[in-house]
Each structure stands twice: as C-alpha cells, then as structure tokens.
C-alpha cells in the first residue's frame, strides 16, 4: 500500500516549524506506524535529507515514549493502543495522514515530532512516590488488600506517562496523568502516609508546569492507550478537597 504523509518539521525549539509532504510507497499493511516512518526515513537518508525525528523506545506499548498526533488523535485512529501498536492496516491505500507533535506549552517541541515531556517527571517527583523501609524484601501479601482495590489501583498504575491525555485535551490538561499517578498510590495502604501531601504537591506541580484545566469532557480517557478511566480524575478532585480541608484544620507544631 501507499500513503501520503503531511509531517510537521521543526529544526529545534527556537525555529518556526511547517508541514512537509512525503510519500511512503510499497508498504506492508502489517507494518507498524513507526516502521512505516522508518521506511520514510531510510528514503530521506538515502536522498541526503534530514530524517524525521520521532520519539520511540520499546515499540511494544509499555514505555510511553512514542507520541504523535496522527490524523487528529493521539496515537492514531485505533482505541487503547500507542503509536507503536498502530498498524498501517488501520489506514486505507492512498490516504493522506497528518502527523503532528503533541501540542502543549508544558511539552515544548525538541525537534520535528519529539516533545520534551519532562514536566511529567517534575509532577512525579513532587509526590508520585511512597516511603518504604529499606532492608530485605517484605513478605508477599503481608499487607492484605481487597481485590477490588488492588484491581482499581492496577488500572491507574497502567499509565505509561505518554502524554496522550494532555495532547487530546482541548485545554492541554494533565489531570488524567496526575490522577492516575496519585490515584494508584492513594488507593493502597502503602500510599496513605503521604496521601494529602502527595495530592497537594502533585496538583501544585501540575499547575506550575502550565497545564490547562479539566473541563470534564473526558477526551483524555478516550485517547488514553491504557484506557484509564476519568473516574480517577473525580477521585483526585475528591482527595484534593479532603486534603485541603484537613491541611487547613490539622494540628500543627509551634
């Protein structure tokens, strides 16, 4: 199959970018989208041109490195997969595919389709952790956790931090990411000691990074390659209100 590509090219964060048109010919429909990009880059390299820069790593949907807005949807037309798991069979022969980087002030473009998503790391560093005792590994299942809670926490923990939620949101809000990262810990007993501090710090880091606000449209959840539910956003809102009130009235040292 053959497709036409309309790809955003931008030399670096300082220069203006623009769309360039390319043609990808003789593709196997069972190639992944990234393999198709590899083919285009081979041709560009052979022709002595600069290959298209795009982020990728594991190519099996678990690292969250690949991004790209493909035809107006993060990670392409399919549901619940990352760009690396999107195959050319999802497109029709002769299609023109528009490929853009994720657009958000908090995700500055590094080059072409590559964005700097370090803002997510800052949010994680603000509270996405628990305190653990060092030493030998504890016995498995020494802390009893109900199956429903364990399952729910696992759903939130499926977040790979790719940034599709921010890319899909009309407001470039990171609420689904933050709610998943805070929620997976807030649900579990291990996450309780820092729960309030975690929620307040992660929300503060999110606001500081310049992400937008949640308008409850749930585009994030629809675009999430791990299909994380917007219910975690509700939980984050609930935990935030609770943490703020508790923090205001709690006993403090002199």
């Amino acid at each position: 199959m053959n497709v036409k590509l309309r790809v955003w090219r931008q030399k670096n964060s300082e220069t203006e970018g623009r769309f360039e048109n390319y043609e990808a010919k003789n593709l196997n429909p069972n190639m992944s989208f990234l393999e198709m990009m590899d083919v285009v880059n081979e041709d560009l390299t052979d022709a002595g041109e600069e290959p298209i820069a795009f982020a990728h790593d594991c190519r099996e949907g678990i690292c969250g490195t690949c991004s790209c807005m493909i035809d107006g949807k993060p990670h392409g037309p399919e549901h619940g997969v990352a760009t690396c798991q999107t195959y050319m069979r999802s497109f029709k022969d002769g299609d023109t595919i528009t490929v853009e980087p994720f657009r958000a002030t908090a995700f500055p473009i590094v080059k072409d389709l590559v964005t700097d998503r370090a803002a997510f790391d800052k949010i994680q560093q603000a509270g996405g952790f628990i305190t653990v005792r060092t030493g030998a590994a504890p016995d498995a299942n020494s802390i009893p956790i109900g199956k429903e809670i364990a399952d729910l926490a696992m759903d939130a923990a499926a977040c790979i931090g790719c940034g599709a939620c921010v890319a899909a949101c009309k407001n470039a809000s990171a609420m689904l990411f933050v709610s998943a990262k805070a929620g997976q810990l807030n649900l579990l007993p291990q996450g309780q000691p820092e729960k309030d501090r975690r929620v307040l710090s992660m929300v503060a880091a999110m606001d500081e990074a310049g992400f937008g606000n949640c308008t409850n449209q749930y585009e994030c959840s629809a675009a999430c390659p791990k299909m994380i539910s917007e219910e975690f956003i509700s939980k984050l809102n609930r935990d935030f209100v609770g943490a703020t009130v508790r923090n205001a009235v709690k006993a403090k040292a002199l």
Binding site: E100, R103, A168, V203, C214, S234, D239, T244
Partner: protein
C-alpha cells in the same frame, strides 16, 4: 495552604468554585421555575407569591446580593480557566484535532453561557425593573391590598412573538448549558464515580428535559391564550367584557357629557 488560597489560586480550586456556584444557580433556576408554574393556578396565587417576595425587604436584597456574587464567581472562574486553557495549548495549535467523546453541550459552554447571561440581563429589565416592558402594569386587589398584577404582566409579556421566541431560545441554551454542567459539577467535586455515573447522566438529562418543558409550558400557555388575562381593568379596556346590550360604556359616556 489555606482554603481560600486553594480555592482561588489552584486549577482544581477554581473548578470547585465553578461547581458550587453552579449548584446554587441550578437550585435558583429550578426554584424560579416552580414559583412561575403558579401561573397555571388562579391569579391570586402567583400575585400573592410575588407580593411575598417583594415584601421581604432587606432580606430580598441579601438574597439578590448572594445570587449576584454566585453569578460573578461563576463567570470569574470561567474567564480565569479559559485564559489558562488557551495559554496551556500554546500559540501553535493543531492543524487537525478530532473530537473523541466530548458532548456538543460541553464544547459550547462558553457560548451558551454568554447568551444566557445576555438573556438574564434582558429578563431582569423585562420583568424585574420593567424597563423593557411594553404594556402598563396593572394593580390588583389582594385581600384588601393593592399589589402589582404579576399574572397579567406575565401573560401580556409573552404576547409578543419575538419576546416569546427569545425566551424559548434562551431557555433552550440554558438547558444545554445545564446538560453538561449538572453532571460536571459532581465530577469537579469528586462525587462522580463509575458506580453511578450512568445514573447521574440519566438523572441530569431528565432534569434538563423537565426544566425546558416547564419553562416552555409557561411561555406557550401565555402566548397561545391557554392562560388568559383575568384582570378586570385590562379586560374592560380591551373590550373583552363587552356584551350585547351592555349599558356600562353608554352610561359612562352619558355621565361624562
């Protein structure tokens, strides 16, 4: 961080302000509708209700100030959030972005909100301050006291097709606004969970439909003549009470001559 700081400075806090002020305003519009549905009772009912509200005196102004504060905060949080959202996407937007599941109502909150705001201003000029009110205001005797005849004012107010259409359009847009806002406020306060999200959507849709139908019934009944003016002074001046062989006007004319 104290509570006020959290409410006014953080992204989630502004959404809480939006939700709580929205909740108060939803309560108000539903109460307002229930009060107005008294138009279907004999005129004394709604006239007495209006008189009761007017006679609250300072309390009425406290309620008005509170509602105005709610509207003000609702609009302030909307503007603050929209500005932040615009900045968050950055100067360069997408060339192509699909809508995946966002409802039409949720994507048009800005516009439905702005038009409803314009309508509220007109509505206050129309029926509260009566600056935009055409026909004269009739008085009516209620238990020995002369009070404004709100029943007649409403019926006459909706006789103009343009006014009635504007009311219906505005109510339709407010219903659209609420169809997103009603379930959204639960999400913003963290009270929406998967267990009852479906139920919440259905209940808010039902409330929206009932709200629209209730308001449309008032406008429709007044416009179509289902609810008629029952003020005798108005009926006399418009000739509605004229019967064959009636001597009232002749007697009056004769006495004037």
């Amino acid at each position: 961080m104290n509570i006020l700081n959290a409410l006014f400075k953080t992204s989630l806090g502004k959404k809480v302000i939006m939700a709580i002020t929205g909740l108060v305003l939803v309560g108000f519009v539903i109460g307002h509708l229930v009060g107005n549905l008294q138009i279907f009772s004999p005129p004394e009912k709604i006239n007495a209700y209006a008189h009761l509200l007017q006679s609250l005196g300072p309390v009425l102004w406290v309620i008005r100030a509170f509602l105005l504060l709610m509207v003000g905060l609702h609009i302030w949080s909307a503007i603050a959030l929209v500005l932040e959202n615009k900045a968050a996407r950055g100067a360069k937007g997408y060339a192509n972005q699909k809508t995946l599941r966002a409802s039409f109502a949720s994507r048009t909150m800005k516009w439905s909100g702005l038009i409803v705001l314009a309508f509220i201003i007109y509505h206050i000029l129309h029926f509260t301050t009566k600056q935009a009110y055409g026909p004269e205001l009739f008085m009516v005797n209620l238990d020995g006291e002369m009070v404004p005849d709100v029943h007649t004012m409403m019926v006459l107010g909706f006789q103009d097709p343009l006014v009635s259409i504007f009311y219906l359009v505005a109510i339709g847009l407010l219903t659209l606004h609420l169809s997103h806002g009603l379930s959204s406020m639960f999400q913003s306060l963290g009270l929406r969970t998967r267990a009852w999200a479906g139920c919440l959507n259905k209940v808010s849709l039902a409330v929206c439909i009932l709200y629209f139908l209730g308001n449309a019934a008032i406008v429709g009944a007044c416009f179509s003549g289902f609810v008629k003016v029952q003020n005798e002074n108005f009926q006399a001046s418009s000739g509605e009470l004229c019967t064959p062989n009636c001597q009232v006007c002749e007697t009056r004319l004769a006495s004037n001559n």
